[in-house]
């Protein structure tokens, strides 16, 4: 049987990262290609206490259908978190609980992007969301990243075109580069969004994983005119397996997202929502975040130290102030894909940079490295192997 698939899906390939992740399920391969949060950052003991508690106290509530907008007490807790912890005024905004931050990109696309419309993204950017935009059969346009965020001239030039509906940005410790967008550029992004009536989709999964430098206000916190859709996630602050996130946006946007979510998955797993709520209600959030940021910081510094010692000096790399990733760039003319393949042969997996480009056929000398998944020993060993390769080749 030859199936005639929709246009939107025919062109879409399985995420390269996920395919690599599967290939590297082999425990002998050092997982610099992964994107998993550090398991020792999970609040295991709390979950082991909280979830059985919920099942004892309110088993029917934890098993029955719930409403699409999200479990009421969790919505309230997230609103408080948004105002008090993320310093975003709820004012004219509303909040919906979603099944992980990925669903935020899906719902934003569903409600704003007609087929053929343009979506702008940082280039490179998070492949999961790029594929999501592609799944709406849009025109995906990448805007070059610089050390402090996107190139503003190119962003304005792109926004000036017709039918540009969204600009997707990860301002804190971006995936894959680790770059943080400066406060100046955040204000300019918002100014341009207002000028050209382009919605900003601000994805902040990593914001709480800051281990160096000073926090920068979110774009949403500056948003006076309802141009920003803010996506938060429990994946990195609690755990990704729960698949819980939230969106803060103006009320009419959340109303449409609610309709879209009804059609997509009715509501998010209710026990997970209750667990997130109870976990937030425990007073230890700031301490927990300080503890996990320290874990990530230690791992990042270790990887950076090893890179400095082991890599050929011609290889450049970013120095993230938080998050899970750093971005290495091989010297001009180097065969990046060849390098990544040789690395896998030597049982070290990194992700080729092209996976993160709006146009995967663009030239790319970079690859992404994750420091949260591998053990400290694996970081030392893996970077040594990669370093030898760089010295042999460059």
């Amino acid at each position: 049987m030859e199936y005639q698939f929709s246009n939107r899906i025919s062109s879409l390939q399985p995420s390269l990262v996920r395919e690599i992740l599967k290939a590297t399920a082999n425990p002998e391969v050092i997982p610099f290609a992964a994107g998993n949060p550090a398991p020792d950052a999970f609040p295991v003991a709390e979950m082991q206490r909280i979830i059985p508690e919920i099942l004892r106290e309110n088993p029917i509530g934890a098993l029955q259908y719930s409403i699409t907008e999200g479990y009421g007490p969790l919505r309230d807790a997230c609103k408080a978190l948004v105002e008090n912890h993320y310093h975003i005024p709820m004012r004219d905004n509303e909040l919906i609980v979603i099944s992980g931050a990925q669903q935020g990109a899906d719902l934003a696309s569903k409600i704003f992007v007609n087929e053929g419309d343009t979506v702008l993204c940082e280039d490179p950017s998070f492949i999961g969301c790029l594929n999501c935009f592609r799944s709406y059969h849009c025109n995906l346009v990448g805007i070059e990243m610089e050390q402090d965020g996107v190139n503003l001239e190119k962003l304005e030039e792109a926004m000036r075109q017709p039918n540009v509906k969204l600009f997707y940005t990860i301002p804190n410790f971006q995936n894959p580069t680790g770059i943080t967008t400066s406060e100046y550029k955040r204000r300019e992004i918002l100014r341009l969004a207002n000028k050209y009536h382009v919605m900003v989709l601000e994805d902040n999964p990593y914001g709480d994983l800051r281990f160096a430098g000073q926090p920068v206000p979110s774009i949403k916190s500056m948003d006076e005119n309802g141009m920003v859709i803010y996506v938060g996630s429990f994946s990195k602050i609690l755990a990704p397996g729960v698949r819980v996130g939230f969106v803060v946006a103006p009320k009419p946007v959340i109303a449409k997202m609610t309709v879209g979510k009804q059609c997509a998955d009715v509501h998010t797993n209710i026990l997970a929502q209750m667990a997130c709520e109870r976990w937030l209600a425990g007073s230890g959030l700031e301490e927990h975040l300080a503890r996990i940021a320290a874990i990530y910081g230690k791992k990042c510094r270790l990887m950076l130290d090893c890179i400095q010692q082991e890599f050929a000096p011609s290889v450049q790399y970013t120095t993230p102030e938080g998050g899970l990733f750093l971005w290495c760039t091989l010297p001009e003319g180097a065969d990046m894909l060849g390098f990544c393949n040789k690395a896998v042969e030597k049982k070290v997996a990194v992700v080729p940079g092209i996976a993160f480009l709006a146009d995967e056929s663009s030239p790319c000398q970079s690859f992404r490295m994750n420091f949260s998944t591998p053990t400290d020993e694996a970081i030392v060993k893996g970077v040594k192997i990669l370093g030898q390769l760089t010295k042999e080749l460059f």
Copy 2:
């Protein structure tokens, strides 16, 4: 700010059922409008044992990212269930775990339906899936339901048109009518699907809730040519809050669905998947299903007995052999919406039939009643109130 939403979402209204559900959150209203499984059918004690067990034995596995296709042991368990319990050969098929059956309709639409393509459905049908199809901006065409399934002449006439991509059917105890499609019509549906190259989306959330009559083979079990996408769900056999279901379809279809799901929500809540797997591994499934079918059967018979005693004889109603719903039809010329509104005023909620039509502006004399959510006392009291109304009006 005036937002310019996508065409697909602009025309879509919030699900009437969900809005009514919210309105009837008032505990004084008798909830015949609901669609919730009976809480006493949930395996509460098992979940209270299983979930803490998983969190003790494999907390990191239960919290970390997982793969899009689903938790391996659950996929294996579902494949065994499909073959041994639902009598569907896996042969050339594959299986993906999804975030509730609703996601099955979403992914089927995503991968098969271009904007403007036609999706066929039973008329009336489940509003959640109708809205899902609408969210892909398709041409939704309803095929008249008869006592033994859709009108086959009208189905063939509709399939003969160009760009028909899916036919959506709930063959067992359909929502909203409670009708079961006969084996003859199932074979004919499959024959027509093969003849006109239209995929059949077979949704079977209620199949295990049979309390009368004999099981009828699924359309998927007869599918030699890979034309059927079968959607199963844990919502009614275990509990809906877990948001876990599965799709069985030919390998190329599942491969595309996996790509679509990566873009939508990455993967389904992993603790819920592990809980479903461990629950299935407990040997009590058939006993559990017999127990819950008895609960639903008792409630259905009570409602039918009350209706027979209390309703005006001019009101017709279906006699389901399973499931959660029955369908009442007022006499020709009656003001159905007026009746439903008067019922809510008297604190009994039913769902106006138009909510379930492909074209909500079609004439409709029917309303849906749910017998699984209300208590026995509420069934007796609520039907008496509705009965008085029917006697006053008709």
